[in-house]
């Protein structure tokens, strides 16, 4: 585990207010999800999960086919598709288009994919104004922070934090009433929507047979982003494609329920191409950026590629006992929680934060709530194996290799094992209590760290082997 990871975890654990905020928010989301997938509300919940998994599996296994079908249909409706390898290619495209059209102001709706590539910073570096319009994302953009949670980005902030941020950046009087804070954001952002030249959105789904981008939201900012400016650019990972519009009946029933416990989010937009002849409003130009940014690295492995099924609902975060303690900012990349623990090492390489796949109790709760049935615990184990294999090739892995070598040798040599047992029994505390530390020369480094979190039962004075011989 890196020093940075360790430090962030400890500071989160030590912050009582933050602990309460994370616990309350995730708890509420978790309970609402449970209510809304209950048997009497959604009797075919498990069938829907199985079906969603099968659809995602099929789409990923035939990804090139569905991407090309999607592209053909976007073009048939007058839109354009741009494939981008990474963030640089995305910002080059947006900057080029903005220059051609003389655009200066961009409004953005919430998108984890654009967080991945730091799109706002890239655009602002080149003199464009790019404004987040989801309330939580807007607050974070003003505060220069990244999302704390996939669906509740400003979960860690209080109304007092928001009041300070608004006062500092928007020149408004200190306002701590949440309704009034929301009204402030509404009026500031309304101006931006009406003046913006380009709207940039993410996408929850790309529908191959329709060439459509589907966006799910509660505030209305994504509708404004995609409909008010003359240019709409949707930026989506290549894994977002699903075969048919009719498959949405399955995915939409699962997504909002898993994310916020709503049967449907307030707005579900199904957008294909620029406005048609006769339509009064809507964009004149419609672009879909299909982003790789490391996704193709996940494809070769038949098991781990299921990480790409994710529909970013955040249910695994809310249910995870680790996320609920260490919070979103402890995680080393934009994606946090169990899903972050499996996609970060695969996108960024296992050395980015080798401790990440180990920061899990493997309790299985994440896999149980996943609406598309990603076997997150299994992928975590596979990544642990990858990390250890990589470490074994490095020097610092050799000590561990040696330790396990000695252990294996002991376990396969009964006499040695028995002798070790006797020595341990002789050294054990005589009061029969738990072992919490080892005597001086042995209580070092990893041994001490291991024992600091765990208690060992003392070895018995008389071993099973002894009893067997004396029976």
């Amino acid at each position: 585990m890196s020093v940075e990871f360790d430090r962030k975890i400890k500071s989160t654990l030590a912050d009582a207010n933050l602990q309460l905020a994370i616990y309350t928010a995730t708890g509420r989301l978790k309970d609402k999800r449970i209510e809304n997938v209950a048997d009497d509300i959604l009797p075919d919940y498990q069938e829907l999960r199985t079906h969603a998994n099968a659809l995602k599996k099929h789409a990923i296994e035939n990804l090139d086919h569905y991407l090309e079908e999607f592209e053909r249909n976007v073009e048939a409706h007058g839109g354009k598709v741009i494939y981008c390898k990474d963030g640089t290619e995305v910002s080059d495209f947006v900057l080029g288009l903005a220059k051609e059209r003389g655009a200066h102001l961009i409004v953005k709706s919430k998108s984890m994919t654009t967080e991945e590539i730091d799109l706002n910073e890239r655009l602002e570096h080149h003199g464009l104004e790019s404004v987040e319009t989801d309330l939580g994302e807007y607050i974070l953009q003003l505060a220069h922070e990244r999302p704390y949670h996939i669906v509740a980005p400003a979960l860690h902030m209080t109304r007092y934090d928001v009041a300070d941020i608004f006062t500092k950046h928007l020149n408004v009087p200190n306002e701590v009433v949440i309704e009034k804070q929301t009204a402030i954001a509404r009026s500031v952002l309304r101006e931006k929507f009406l003046a913006a030249d380009i709207g940039i959105s993410g996408a929850n789904f790309l529908v191959a047979d329709s060439g459509a981008v589907v966006i799910v939201e509660n505030e209305g900012n994504a509708r404004l982003t995609t409909s008010a400016p003359k240019i709409h650019i949707a930026i989506a990972g290549i894994e977002k494609v699903i075969p048919r519009a009719q498959d949405l009946a399955t995915f939409l029933k699962l997504l909002a329920r898993s994310a916020t416990g709503q049967p449907l989010s307030v707005y579900t937009s199904f957008l294909s191409g620029p406005r048609r002849a006769g339509e009064v409003d809507g964009p004149d130009e419609f672009y879909v950026v299909l982003l790789d940014n490391g996704r193709t690295k996940l494809l070769p492995d038949r098991s781990k590629r299921q990480s790409l099924y994710c529909i970013r609902c955040g249910a695994c975060l809310n249910t995870c006992p680790v996320y609920r303690k260490i919070g979103g900012h402890s995680f080393p990349w934009v994606y946090s929680g169990p899903i972050g623990a499996i996609i970060t090492p695969q996108f960024m390489g296992t050395t980015h934060e080798p401790g990440l796949p180990f920061a899990s109790s493997l309790c299985g709760a994440c896999g149980e709530v996943c609406p598309v049935k990603i076997d997150i615990p299994k992928v975590l184990l596979e990544l642990r194996s990858d990390v250890k294999k990589a470490e074994a090739r490095e020097k610092h892995g050799r000590i561990e290799k040696l330790a396990f070598g000695i252990f294996a040798w002991m376990m396969t040599h009964p006499r040695i094992y028995e002798m070790a047992g006797k020595i341990a029994a002789a050294m054990a505390p005589s009061d029969g209590g738990w072992i919490r530390t080892l005597p001086a020369p042995f209580n070092i480094g990893p041994v001490a760290a291991w024992l600091s979190q765990r208690d060992l039962p003392p070895p018995p004075a008389k071993s099973f082997r002894d009893m067997w011989r004396q029976r």
Binding site: H77, C84, N221, S265, F270, E279, V280
Partner: protein, 207 residues
């Protein structure tokens, strides 16, 4: 830019060649329950109430709308249905705007947007609006209040029926939106606030 590069990487990784046929996807899963119209209406009404919207059945929608917009400014969509009901001639109502900029400015300043709906989904209390020369996107989005008037036979059971009736929405419109209750956020301390960017009030009149 990187089209060929990315498609090549994808194909290599999943072991496919360009243009290789695809096995059939899992079958479409759409189950439509048999729910009589009267029940669909009552479910629709109660779902909207749960979402903190107003919902009612009315044989005289003109009077309901007239009372709701009295003393206010409103913009009505170009749906012939609204004209037939006489709503477009109520005092304070503007309609038949075909210029985008003019429509946007009006929607940004008036109090109420009035639309019809192409469909409604009873089990979630959703309105389904397809953008068209009759229905613009901004009318149900920019004004602080939205009134929708929905003929009762357009109330479907839910998503499965919608995608059965409308298997290919893109063939008809550039934008289909499902509206389920008033605009809301809970981004600050998980406290629910309505009307953050879209309308904070929604009224559905079933006729």
């Amino acid at each position: 830019m990187s089209r060929e590069h990315i498609l090549h990487r994808v194909r290599t990784a999943i072991g496919r060649s360009a243009g290789q046929p695809v096995a059939d996807p899992p079958p479409v899963r759409l189950r439509i329950p048999d729910v009589p119209l009267a029940i669909r209406i009552s479910i629709m009404l109660s779902r909207i109430e749960v979402l903190a919207g107003k919902a009612m059945r009315s044989d005289d929608p003109l009077a309901v709308v007239a009372a709701a917009i009295e003393g206010k400014t409103a913009i009505a969509s170009n749906a012939p249905f609204l004209r037939e009901l006489g709503i477009t001639t109520l005092p304070g109502v503007r309609t038949c705007i075909t210029d985008r900029a003019e429509l946007r400015d009006l929607c940004a300043t008036c109090d109420v947007g009035i639309t019809s709906a192409d469909y409604a989904l009873a089990d979630t209390g959703s309105l389904v609006l397809l953008s068209s020369p009759q229905e613009a996107r901004m009318i149900s989005l920019l004004p602080p209040a939205h009134i929708a008037i929905v003929p009762k036979e357009r109330i479907l059971t839910g998503l499965d029926e919608l995608f059965t009736v409308l298997p290919d929405p893109a063939s008809q419109t550039s934008s289909m939106v499902l509206i389920t209750g008033p605009s809301r956020t809970a981004d600050i301390e998980q406290i629910l606030v309505r009307g953050v960017h879209g309308p904070g009030q929604i009224t559905v009149i079933i006729v």
